[in-house]
């Protein structure tokens, strides 16, 4: 359709559809896992994702909250990424590791949730509220 330059209103120059990228946002994945933790513990523990927006992108902190302990909070891990979802940067020992795809991120995430440290924290918190 030709642009009508006599119109006082600027024509809509955007394409007909604006689809989100097919990948799932890391924050969405983390929020789904936060909900799964609550279901799995009968809501004794609540997962939460705190997001901060900075000059270089987004930082998400995955937290475990214990409502029965006056909302005691444990920061399990922190991930960050730029405007693009991937690579996701995660702490790996003292340095930083880059996860280039959703599959790599999911694999790392599963490892975090299954780690001895995580299971120890969750076990300790569940004992507190048993």
């Amino acid at each position: 359709m030709p642009i009508d330059f006599d119109s006082t209103e600027t024509p809509d120059l955007w394409p007909a559809t604006l689809d989100p990228v097919p990948e799932k946002a890391p924050a969405t994945i983390l929020k789904e896992q936060a909900s799964a933790l609550a279901r799995k513990t009968q809501w004794k523990l609540r997962g939460s994702v705190e997001t901060a927006v900075g000059r270089h992108g987004f930082t998400h902190t995955f937290q475990i909250i214990v409502p029965a302990l006056q909302d005691y909070t444990y920061d399990l891990f922190v991930v960050s990424h730029g405007l693009e979802f991937y690579p996701v940067k995660v702490a790996d020992g003292g340095s930083t590791k880059e996860l280039k795809t959703e599959a790599e991120f999911l694999d790392w995430l599963g490892g975090q949730f299954r780690s001895q440290q995580t299971l120890h924290v969750i076990g300790s918190l569940l004992r507190q509220v048993a």
């Binding site: 901060a52 902190t61 302990l69 006056q70 909302d71 444990y74 920061d75 702490a91 003292g94 924290v121």
Partner: protein, 270 residues
């Protein structure tokens, strides 16, 4: 009097030396970073001194060891992470205080910007828990891996820690219409060679153009509400414990007897 001992042990097996420091300075709350031993070894050693009764505090911060000479039921954990622990002590006949213990990432892996942003997050988290507690009787102690003059320490949006007690007593400062509560940082008084045998708590001779040589990475910060209970001299860097010298002849930490960091004592007359 409530006495805090903080020490980054650099992974050294300094169990007996920590216990000696506890006894010599009558410490009530002991916070260790990079302790590198089973925590019950430390607790057992502390309880062999003339000041027994130590138990680990009920916190889950994996990079910090905290023990206190109080019933753990007096301690309410608020927020733990790999870098900090926020908890409250509600001791009999005393007002509740909030303790923030920290060991922030070092400069080997984190840029100045990373450290600044971490302090912004930490400051926001502390303010959240202060609002929940309904008071600002907060003491923060640990290895910040930053000097007192760095942006993360002094920036309003960071920890907003000033060297001047009278400035801190104003309570807060406003930047771009946002109010930020002050911390008072008494560690400025311990910078330089006028303060004693050392010029800080950690020595690093950087090969680059800029080197401070001495750093005060180990610090204690106090909110103005705690200042009536804190006096000059209540924060000290230890250079010896009983008869053991922790520094060499040139004043640098002696790693053959101690750690690469010097221990810190802070007292509140609560």
């Amino acid at each position: 009097m409530l006495t805090f001992l903080f020490w980054n042990l650099h992974g050294k097996p300094l169990v007996d030396l920590v216990a000696d420091a506890v006894e010599e300075h009558d410490a009530d709350i002991v916070i260790l970073a990079e302790w590198g031993r089973d925590k019950y070894q430390f607790v057992d050693a502390m309880n062999r001194t003339g000041h027994p009764g130590f138990l680990p505090a009920p916190i889950l911060a994996k990079n910090l060891f905290i023990a206190a000479r109080f019933d753990p039921d007096f301690c309410m954990p608020r927020h733990d992470s790999s870098r900090f622990s926020i908890h409250s002590w509600n001791l009999p006949a005393r007002q509740e205080i909030t303790v923030v213990a920290t060991h922030l990432p070092g400069k080997m892996y984190w840029s100045d910007n990373d450290q600044m942003l971490e302090c912004t997050h930490l400051a926001k988290t502390i303010r959240h828990w202060e609002e929940r507690a309904g008071h600002t009787r907060t003491i923060m102690i640990g290895d910040f891996n930053m000097n007192p003059f760095e942006p993360g320490m002094v920036g309003a949006i960071g920890l907003n820690a000033t060297m001047a007690r009278r400035v801190a007593e104003r309570g807060h400062r406003t930047v771009q219409a946002e109010r930020y509560p002050f911390f008072y940082n008494p560690m400025w008084n311990l910078f330089g060679d006028a303060a004693g045998d050392t010029c800080g708590t950690y020595y690093y001779d950087s090969p680059g153009h800029v080197s401070y040589f001495w750093n005060v990475f180990d610090q204690v910060l106090l909110r103005p509400e705690l200042l009536p209970f804190f006096h000059p001299g209540h924060a000290r860097v230890l250079t010896e414990i009983k008869q053991t010298k922790l520094i060499k002849g040139d004043g640098r930490p002696d790693e053959t007897t101690g750690s690469d960091h010097l221990p810190l004592i802070a007292r509140l007359s609560l």
